[in-house]
Symmetry: C2
């Protein structure tokens, strides 16, 4: 089954899908393979779907009015990725979602997800819990950002996402931290000499 990783994700939140629910889910998703550097969402698109990352890694970024990229977050296997803002308001997205590595995703369209919500309350519960966790992480992040220097943010990044260190370039990390690659280089040098 395509959706086994999703079913396991439900299990992690102690929500167990029965065969009917699993089949409904299986019929709602489409598998897509994505090349390195390929975008699954462009600025200007309307985001009408959720994606579950089966394997690989994505970055979500915005391009500002000076043409600079700002990474909002990285998403690796076994998590959902979408532009919630666009998904909700049904307005065009300001974001790009791009594969950092060769990746595989399962996509579910808005209408199919809505059907699942209507038919099976477990989907509301699962996303309610998933969103609580995601929001808690987001808050934790802005909390840390607001009260730390760039050096502290870098160290915190390394602690929190050790598995990303080898998967994304320093350019990407700098963009995520909100500093220039040059300045990250200075920070790294300083840290080594300590």
């Amino acid at each position: 089954m395509l959706v086994t990783p999703i079913v396991e994700s439900f299990s992690k939140f102690s929500i167990h899908l029965n065969q009917e629910e699993i089949n409904a889910l299986e019929n709602s998703v489409t598998k897509k393979t994505v090349k390195r550097r390929q975008c699954i969402l462009h600025e200007g698109d309307t985001c009408d779907h959720y994606n579950f990352v089966i394997e690989g890694c994505f970055k979500t970024y915005k391009v500002d009015h000076n043409g600079k990229e700002h990474n909002l977050h990285f998403t690796i296997e076994n998590s959902w990725i979408t532009d919630l803002g666009s998904f909700f308001t049904k307005k065009t997205s300001q974001l790009y979602i791009e594969a950092v590595e060769k990746s595989t995703i399962l996509r579910i369209e808005r209408q199919d997800l809505n059907s699942l919500y209507d038919l099976y309350p477990k989907f509301d519960k699962y996303f309610r819990v998933f969103l609580e966790r995601t929001l808690a992480k987001e808050e934790q992040r802005s909390l840390h950002n607001i009260s730390s220097t760039a050096e502290e943010r870098y160290l915190h990044f390394l602690e929190t996402y050790p598995y990303l260190f080898n998967r994304v370039s320093n350019v990407q990390i700098a963009s995520y931290l909100g500093v220039t690659p040059e300045f990250l280089s200075v920070l790294r040098k300083r840290l080594v000499s300590k």
Copy 2:
């Protein structure tokens, strides 16, 4: 009924509670009045509840290792306020939630909320939708923060939350924007002279 404003909030998301559900909710909440400058959550507390603001205004802030306050957000009437991070992990909170004005809240404890989730699927749906919106707003905010100057952030704040302008001090606004009150003063002067 105490919970009328909450029932109306459900209605805004097209979720309509029946009398049984309303009664269950009514029996789950406790009304609290809060004085100006009184905290409903302190750093070190564990946050085991959600609060619905009936009237008034709160700020959620962190005190950093230099003793400075950093406002994460303001919450006014007809919205929920809690420390999701602490609520979830059941760990102690790093945050303070303090009334900016004399306020009234309805509090619901974790166990009572869990009972509602178990008995009535509408509650999962309501919070799923609520969290999607909240998370979309959070993302919108970090998106804007990451790619704007302090002046742009201040203008954006005024546009987005015009109703807060008269309710919270510039010290609070500066803390929310991530600048010092002195620098906000400079910005305001610059803007007037334009």
